[in-house]
């Protein structure tokens, strides 16, 4: 792998990805919708977003 850290046991890339494991506590992160909508929906949404006036 081209690693040359003398005096250590780091020999392979896998040695560098499995050190000090993180807590195992998954939290779902669902993908959000940001695009692909009909033009009418875009216009209606733009009008609604002006509600702060």
């Amino acid at each position: 792998m081209g690693l040359s850290v003398e005096g250590t046991n780091v020999k392979h890339e896998s040695d560098l990805t499995s050190l000090y494991p993180l807590p195992n506590a998954p939290l779902a992160m669902p993908k959000q919708v940001l695009e692909r909508r009909p033009l009418l929906a875009v216009v209606i949404d733009a009008l609604r977003s002006l509600a702060w006036f």
Binding site: V5, T8, N24, L27, K31, L34, A46, S49
Partner: protein, 584 residues
Amino acid sequence: MNGRLTATRTAALATTAGASLVGGWLFLRFTGLGGLTLIDLLRTGLVVITGFWLVWGAYPVQLGLLDRSERTGDQPIRRPRGKTVVLVPIYNEDPIATFSRIAAMNLSLIDLGMEERFHFVVLSDTQNLEIASREALWFARLMREPRSTGRIFYRRRSKNIGRKAGNIEDFIAQSGAAYDYALVLDADSLMEGEAMVRLATRLDEDTQLGLLQTVPRIIGARTVFGRVMQFAAGYLSPIYAAGAAKLQGNEGPYWGHNAIVRLSAFAGSCGLPKLSGRPPFGGHILSHDYVEAALLSRSGWKVQVDLSITGTYEEGPENLIEYAKRDRRWCQGNLQHSRLLAAPRLKFWSRLTFLQGIMAYLASPLWLVLLAASIIAASFPNMPPVLSFVGATDQGIWALSLAVVTVLVLPKILILLAGAVTGRNKRFGGTLRAGTSLLAEIVFSTCLAPVMLLLQSWAVVQVLLGLDGGWPATRRDNDQVSMKDAFAGTWWITCIGIIVLTITLVWAPATLVWVLPAMLPAIAAPALISWSSRGFSHAWLFLSEAEAAPSPIVLSQRAIAADWHPKTGLSTPLDAGVPARVLA
């Protein structure tokens, strides 16, 4: 939406639109002599558009000067109820510098006796295996710091999918439920333990607050360029940010670091999709922070910026080439936001923020088109008019020019005057020193403005054509840019300057007074870049707050880095007593 915020926003937009229309009117008065040609109408349109964003950028200062929140919190700190993970995403960084910052922040929390409420996680996306191995070594040294076991973690992804946003998302998917809040830092971020505690307790107190952004001060600058940026960021930016916060309300900014997020809100709202199509407009979202702030707002969470929390720091680029490289990335990220302007259910302010970010880069080519159109108009004075115009005078252009200079310079002068009255200037060496530094900053930024204009215009063209940035490699261990390197990066700016100046002299000498101030710095771009990268560490000018009274965390980090650094005699952490079996 409260009435006061609505009124503030409406007044800001109306004032800005009014000022840009007046600018357009003044320009018409000048160009209308002998009737308006098509090119005159084009130029007027450009003046109105670019003028709008110029005024919009300066507007927050007047609100910021009225703000009283830029104070170190006098309230005693409380133990946070929620548990915070401090995330430090890194990508091919110097591990000694990064990990010594973590060690300093850890000690700062220990001094407060609140370290058990905070864990640190290094999220390495480092792709260079040599650097990755150094990270492993120096992390082992970090693990010898007090209270590190079970509180400080490291993990590395062998593929940096989704870059920084993907890195953080990967952590949340694996370990997010173990914490209530995530304090997101950059590799060069540094924060006092007290600031971290205040951030966490703010989220404790306001359960609707999804994200709280601090305004980090730039520290550690060593060159002319770096120290000018550091001074401007410390002296001017907080006032701009305070004013902008009054406009943003609960739809505030996220700059991607030195900010705390509520993990349940972030996970539920900010899973970024891969955009359809290919880069630069498709693929992973590059400037993810603006989008994440917009998504939190969309889900009903408050996103705020807090000026009262001090002791939050970052480092900045030390020369214009490094700055331009970063700017090139931001340019691509911001232009990509054009895909998201019509995203469903976004708040109006989020859309406006996207548009402002896009115009921050599109304005540069528009200014260039205005300059080129003006040279063409002067070169062909007999173009047929399409409209007649009553009330034309050649005085209009001077009034407009004065207005532009006022918009650019007056906010800075007002900040200086306000600082003299409130005593804020004392933190920057007094009014004489701050004023002289500000004057030098105005001269410096004016000289660099045409260079930046051309660099940003080229960045926009590169993004639109899908080209690589094309910058020559710079040595990270040396801030100084040689004339050779500066010329290799900006020779084309010099050529454009010479060509435009020649065309103006031959065909449109009447516009020389406008073109000369823009093109002389362009011609001298390599010299400017090389000169401004020279060391300027302890000069009288550009004193920042952090230099005048270094924060304990800054001193602590420097001491730790000096203790760890190989120059002190430690060639590897093994020399510092870290056994090799730690890495087994």
